[in-house]
Symmetry: C2
Subunit: 410 residues, 2 copies
């Protein structure tokens, strides 16, 4: 068997980017179903939005030059030459020296270049007193100012949030090509693990809570999870079960028992699934060191540590990145990390990334991250926390009052 | 008809808290289905977690006093009196002067109070050389240290995130009482509004994109939305359609046309649905002033402005709060606002809250909020944005470099 060197967090992220493939299958779906899906083709605008020059205020469409020199003390004068109604085409061009009334959202008459707000003029018997000079383009949205025909509005890999769906609709696009949503399969291993709904535990037994936390996170990321149950530490049984699930899903997630050493076949089972196999075996991180990442014949496999809090933190950090990359999402550094100030000094070993559970408290308009005291095995430390603070591997700790990035929970 | 004074953002939030009722119906569901549901009954622990004292390391269970004075240069000596296996009950009590091997997660023998890590001792032919003195409780998780029997673990109104689901499972709780998920109904009004999938627009027509953005946000908050289509500005038709939808849902959302004045019956229609009726009619906010909030016979009604960007920002700010309160969620100030530094000076009228769309850019380990230039009617300004910056009503603007709260989008 191969030997592996423990990787840093930064190396692990770089390896995920290098090794995890993107799914290729594409679906065409209605806009309503496309929420949170990942765009598989760029979207190019076929028309201008808006399609015509519009007023952003109630006022009079004018030639801006005709207002030059107008002020409260020295008003200018224009002839009112008509009105454009909401939702109607403005077909009569504006002539110099004239003004035409336009409501908010209404179409500008040809020739006009700006709109004088009703607050800045007064109509008296067909004559408009202008009290302000305006610039060309003032109070006007030009045709194509929101989106121009031919413009690439959205690129491949864009996650379709409600605003992207809205922008697509504003272009009259009602169907969109997205990558097929991926499916994950989950399997717990360990002789001591029992189903999570076991009412009374015998000594030494541990409920399979990792399935619930891991599948809960996956569902938050839009991934359906097939539950593979619990397998014993017997190699043949474990291996057969893992292969069966691997074949049903796009990604396989294994959660180790908390047992140490002898009976842990996770690495061997993962290697047996296919090439190239394991590329991360152990991460220099606390908690969560015994983490395994692999690709077997194009499908990612994740081996999570058994401790509930560790499993959840590791899956939040690396599982999300693996899943997003597999799903074809463009991986930009999104503002998922909040900056907060730490309330206490915290020591950390250099070369190892530490993740500290914190409660976020607002004080004097700033966020403060207050570390939660408790051993990493305690699930209640996660229940009490609003997020986790990252102490990157180059740092030897953080000092009270320092700004730290917090990965906030939903 | 009643007359209304425009409310500040702060007054609006306070009124939502005062006026919006909580749903009362309760469902009992399986843990797996309970993700993101709101707890309707407190959860009290029936058992200790863990159920027994456990070791957090591989090592030897000892009386801590027996290690006092031990050091690398002056080791102490203990007799090795056996081994506890993983998943087995430790029934033989520890006697003074003895040590018993325990693996990580293993049960502590009665009498022992701490575990000496294998790194800090050496077993030679049944004799243990101890190289370090340890304190009582060291490397031990006590029974009940994570959760104590009788403790209120989760309160009514808690949103069940993956970690809460995990904590419930660790207690062997497999069914949980939650508030029934609410259902919203949505109706667009305005003669100029056409279905969002209309391919070619006639002059003056606007596609109904607010349905997609508003229902998209509602789905992110776990709310199903019934689409009521588009109604004309005719009072009788509008009113009948609104009532029909109101009766099918727990909350009604109306999106106004962008038309101004004469034909806007939204307020009258909302008042006709029942008492006490409208409690907010106009908010001192930019964009989004013409916002209506009401309660009709126990059901909230929201009237959104017609402009797509305004409708989305208003729904994000106030709709989410209305929905969470109706759903029974405890309203704590969660860290959904990221603190970032603004890249430009921005002026704002005091007494009015301004919401500026921004792109978040990381620079020197800090988040900078870069305002997106564009008129509020442009949906692309939302597509380009990572969130919105809040300028609270007391402020006359913000200066370059100042820290500002950003409501980040998902």
């Amino acid at each position: 068997m191969q030997f592996f060197k423990v990787k840093t967090v930064e190396e692990t992220f770089a390896l995920i980017e290098e090794k995890i493939p993107k799914i290729r299958e594409v679906l065409v779906c209605n806009l309503e179903e496309a929420l949170h899906c990942i765009l598989a083709e760029p979207v190019v605008a076929a028309e201008d939005v808006p399609g015509f020059d519009r007023s952003t205020v109630d006022g009079y469409a004018v030639f801006s030059k005709d207002t030059y020199g107008s002020s409260e003390s020295m008003p200018g004068f224009l002839n009112v030459a008509g009105e454009v109604k909401m939702g109607e085409e403005a077909s009569i061009p504006l002539s110099r020296g004239n003004a035409i009334y336009v409501p908010t959202g209404g179409m500008l008459p040809p020739g006009s270049d700006s709109v004088l707000m009703i607050e800045h003029c007064e109509e008296i018997g067909g004559l408009l007193n202008t009290y302000k000079q305006i610039a060309p383009g003032e109070n006007v949205i030009r045709a194509g100012e929101d989106i121009q025909a031919g413009e690439v509005l959205l690129e491949v890999g864009t996650k379709l949030r409600p605003q992207e769906i809205g922008a697509l609709a504003s272009l009259g696009i009602s169907k969109v090509s997205v990558f097929r949503p991926i499916k994950a399969a989950y399997l717990s291993t360990g002789d001591e693990i029992v189903p999570y709904d076991t009412e009374t535990l015998e000594i030494g037994q541990i409920r399979d809570i990792n399935y619930l936390t891991v599948s809960g996170l996956a569902r938050e990321w839009g991934v359906e999870v097939i539950y593979g149950g619990i397998t014993t530490d017997d190699y043949e049984i474990f291996s057969a079960k893992a292969r069966e699930l691997y074949e049903q899903a796009d990604i396989l997630i294994l959660s180790g028992g908390s047992s140490v050493g002898a009976k842990d076949y996770t690495t061997e089972v993962i290697q047996s699934l296919g090439d190239p196999g394991v590329f991360v075996h152990g991460i220099s991180i606390k908690p969560g060191k015994p983490t395994i990442l692999a690709v077997a014949e194009g499908k990612p496999v994740i081996g999570l540590p058994g401790h509930p809090a560790s499993a959840m933190i590791i899956f939040r950090l690396f599982g999300e990145k693996v899943i997003k990359q597999l799903q074809g999402e463009r991986l930009e550094r999104k503002p998922e990390r909040i900056l907060a100030r730490i309330t206490k000094n915290i020591a950390s070993a250099p070369g190892r990334s530490d993740y500290i559970r914190v409660r976020l408290v607002e004080k004097d308009g700033e966020w403060w991250a207050d570390p939660i005291i408790g051993k990493s095995g305690l699930i209640t430390t996660l229940v009490k926390s609003d997020g986790i603070v990252e102490i990157v591997s180059e740092k030897e700790g953080i000092s009270q009052g320092e700004y730290v990035p917090v990965l906030a929970s939903k």
